[in-house]
Symmetry: C2
Subunit: 340 residues, 2 copies
């Protein structure tokens, strides 16, 4: 269990003092040169000497020491429990990171798998980020927001179904997806509508609100909503298709396009006509939906643009006093193709 000898890696990392010594100047001068401090004039000869010394030693400034001294960081923390899957979210994350870096922030994703809300907030606060953009998988409470703000976070932004007190909110109303899908099916005369619920618990964050939206759209129309659990595998899908007629469903909202593809194949293999006997609607408008036969009706989701979010972060950081903004940032609209 010997954790380490005194010299962790042979030589300790060079400090600005080492650079100063080698260049024959003071640590202050080193700092001025390497940070191009405008308020002070340093001779070109000195500049060069400092630069060369830093280069020779492989000097890299110590971010922790710097931010300790400065009293703040430029770190934007993106806590993630799971890497969100799917092209929509990949693109969104890429855009957001890119835009924030252009605004001179340091973007850090912090894996917070299996932490509860307030525990997570505390862990994040230890890093003293200037802003936190919390994807809704981790439930942030008003207390969590308060902890972050007291620790110096100038902006806390949640990205999820609900607004949290004290935080800016980008409301991604997943329920709207279910609403659109079911409204469409009802309009086309369907009355007993299944809603596929993935067994993968990591998708609850999306699937539960989508089901709720489905129920809302059905309410008062005489249509009935039937949740149908399904694992993303061939066998369970075949098994489900085998007892499909017992369920008596004339339509199904399949959670998303991938589940829709899985289900549609199983239904077709079981001799059930789509859309004749059962209509199928997916969501996310993936390319694969257009490649299926019949082509898949789907709910298209317009995700928030990463650049917009980056601008909101920057605005909030510059004006921490501002009232929490709330933006409803997910438009969903149905695309009618052949499967419904």
């Amino acid at each position: 269990m010997s954790h380490s000898p005194k010299h962790p890696a042979g030589h300790p990392a060079p400090t600005s003092a080492d650079v100063a010594r080698l260049a024959g100047v003071s640590r202050a001068t080193v700092s001025y040169v390497l940070n191009n401090t405008a308020a002070v004039r340093i001779s070109d000869r000195t500049r060069r000497r400092v630069r060369e010394a830093a280069e020779e030693l492989g000097y890299v400034p110590h971010a922790a020491a710097r931010s300790l001294r400065a009293g703040h960081t430029r770190m934007v923390l993106l806590p993630t429990a799971h890497v969100p899957v799917g092209p929509l979210y990949s693109r969104f994350f890429d855009e957001l990171q890119w835009a924030l870096r252009r605004l001179d922030y340091t973007v850090v994703q912090y894996g917070s798998l299996g932490m509860d809300g307030d525990e997570a907030a505390r862990a994040w606060a230890e890093l003293r980020p200037v802003a936190v953009v919390a994807f809704g998988e981790i439930a942030l409470t008003p207390q969590g927001v308060e902890v972050l703000k007291r620790s110096g976070a100038r902006a806390v932004i949640t990205l999820g179904a609900h607004q949290v007190e004290g935080a800016h909110a980008l409301v991604l109303d997943q329920a709207e997806v279910g609403r659109q899908a079911v409204a469409h099916l009802v309009e086309r005369g369907r009355r007993r509508i299944g809603v596929i619920m993935p067994e993968d618990r990591r998708l609850d964050f999306f699937s539960v609100p989508r089901l709720e939206g489905a129920r809302q759209a059905a309410a008062g129309t005489g249509a009935e909503i039937v949740p149908v659990p399904l694992r993303h595998e061939e066998e369970p899908a075949a098994e489900l298709a085998g007892r499909w007629r017992d369920l008596g469903l004339d339509a199904v909202f399949a959670y998303n396009d991938e589940y829709a593809m899985l289900l549609m194949r199983a239904l077709q293999d079981a001799g059930i006509d789509v859309p004749g006997e059962t209509a199928v609607v997916g969501a996310d408008d993936l390319l694969l939906g257009r490649l299926l036969r019949p082509r898949l009706s789907t709910v298209q989701i317009d995700m928030v643009i990463g650049r917009h979010l980056a601008e909101l972060v920057d605005r909030a950081v510059r004006d921490p006093g501002g009232a929490p903004e709330r933006h409803d940032l997910m438009a969903a609209r149905l695309i009618h193709r052949e499967s419904s």
Copy 2:
């Protein structure tokens, strides 16, 4: 441009001195209590007072100050240029993060989009991570490794096609995927084999080695390899299918299952028989391949297990002097179905 008043967020974050003052003890005592320091005995009454004071103030320790004092961190840095897409990599990242957290590391993903290798290494070194696991999108040079080590990183591990001097390597030999696919096609008598090259530059990291592997497998067999660029959209696929017969290909390795699906649909719509006229092989063994008709032949990839990598990280951190390990960690094998 006024960047901020003196008091960034109203009140500055509470420090251990504030806790000490409120509890009527010294900062040392606060530290002992909150860290459960074993080497020192504190009365229960004092413990409680300190805990209550910390709670009341919403005190959260300052990670930067702590690690500055300690001289090291427990941070494992995972630089990512793009979020890697696909279920394989999502699962891998989840596993890795989980396993590292169990080993008491803090896992931080650092967005390094658009940085060149040495610039990136410097940026990472500023954070003084104890270990860096570099996914191969960013080319890490021997100099970059050296910078990281001098800054105190006890383990540098690359995950990619090549080994880098001084770093441990998990070799993910993407070329093997192309080799397997083409060897299979050659064996089945195909002679003019297209290799789909996604136009999305973010996939070069995967697609270029896969093409190279395809070439290796064809060498000396009399078979010919023809790179075929393709965008992941319907129209370009249809356009490609339209001039398919001019290409004179009797087989195609479609980069992965998603591109294979896209291409197969387009070929079928153009009246080209699969596999009769052209055989198609995908990769990644996604569920969707089994849902296609004909069922898609594919190259299954056994990704490294996150837990194994976490253990390698821990081993390397505990014994920084150890010789760089090199593990070849991607097995690929062909699964023959109906499309080839």
